[in-house]
């Protein structure tokens, strides 16, 4: 079951199937993972977070929608939204095609990164978590 989904090493994962990735400039890229995109199937709409919004870890950040379903997206780490992926406005399917790459949703300038990351799962733990679903 777990082998069905691509889980990228070096990323941090939530139980709600978001991922967070530390970038070289100190910011954190966030998105939804392969499991989430595959459950939704054809993604037709992305509600991007608002620029400059301050979010706490676990707070609503946006949403990803298929024809039939809506999946709310929660901030995997707290901080300030400094960039959103506007490509997704016209091409929401990028999340299906490349959830950890071109399908990134936002970049966050973290406010308490290490404490937040400590609450997330690494690839190995996440894989074990998916196996329980």
């Amino acid at each position: 079951m777990t082998d069905e989904y691509k889980i990228e090493e070096g990323l941090y994962y939530t139980k709600e199937h978001e991922w967070a990735k530390k970038l070289g400039d100190g910011n954190v890229a966030v998105g939804v993972d392969d499991y989430a995109q595959s459950q939704l199937h054809e993604i037709v709409y992305v509600e991007l977070p608002e620029m400059d919004a301050e979010v706490a870890q676990g707070e609503a950040l946006g949403a990803v929608e298929s024809v039939k379903a809506v999946s709310d997206m929660y901030a995997p780490v707290g901080g300030k939204v400094v960039e959103v992926n506007e490509e997704l406005l016209d091409s929401p399917e990028l999340i299906n095609d490349d959830p950890y790459g071109e399908g990134w949703i936002a970049k966050i300038e973290p406010s308490g990164l290490e404490a937040d990351l400590a609450k997330l799962m690494d690839a190995e733990k996440y894989k074990a978590f998916l196996a329980t679903l």
Partner: protein, 376 residues
Amino acid sequence: MELKKTHIYSYHAEHGNIVDFGGYAMPVWYDGIKVEHKAVRDGCGVFDTSHMGRMWAEGPDTEKFLNYVVTNNVSKLEPYGGLYSVMCKPDGGIVDDLITYKFTPERFLVVYNAGNRDKDYKWLKKNSKDFDVKLTDVSDEVAMIAVQGPKAVETLQKITEEKLGEVGRFNIAEITVSGYKVLAARTGYTGEDGFEVFVLDCPLDKPEKALKIWGDLVEAGAVPCGLGARDSLRLEAGLWLYGNDMDESVNPIEAGLRWTVKLKKPGYFIGRRAIQKVREEGVKRRLVGLMMEDRGIPRHGYEVLNAEEQVIGEVTSGGLSPTLGVGIALAYVPPEYRKLGTEVYIKIRSRLAKGKVVKHRPFYDEAVYGWKRDKK
């Protein structure tokens, strides 16, 4: 509880993504909702609709009985004609919507919603006491397959002996498909041309006839479509879904189904007095179509607000229209907001997205899509 399975289940299990739909194991999609939706708007799709309810009503009083329980006038039907209608409770609340097909004044086929199979049968049975009519639920003995799209007729024709072009809209015919005698009605739930095929004498434990017809249709070029596309197609066509856009708390006038209510037909029918009263006093809410102008997809249960940001109603069906590329919805609002072009807002999560009231039956341009489209 174990899910009920239809005649075509073995195909769904192999090729589709199965979900629990009102207790039935049904495919929500095979390859994807968008591609299946497009297949029906541009070509031909095939749906398993065997989960729906099907019943024979037979006997000397059949026509009189049906006119007593439904709001439309079945006496207007010629033999082999079909009629869309609703049936109501005495207070006007809608029990279900249904299609009745007349073969003779003493023999009708009645087709109703999957989720209401038990309820409808009990309701009809209970109200048939004073009539000489026999009701036989044949849902498990008759499979039902819908072939829909601008190329539906030519696709079904490939495996049919008789000339399908001669069957008029909403009419039903006895034809031979894949070598089997079936009934085929020129109806559907997508807005497109096509047929709903009733595979007779096809019990659940001997589904070979239905599977053969299904397989032949797929081989002839029909794209298998799941319930996801069925829902997005019916929403674009502006068609009501029982349980969302109408239920027992809504009367046909509020639901925009005035055209199915024949108050002047002879004799009493259940709900007549209540509906007459609503007609005289007016309604407090009315079903309308909404189209988004801002980005965002309206969904079932979202609040509808006016320009002053007061909540005026609720979305009952909503989604992205794959054909139009915008969010569309059916919603109940007070009648003063019914006027086409009225500005409304939908509360999507924490923000308000702008939309307007539009014609909803259908949402798309009928010259371009749907069964009335310009034939080149």
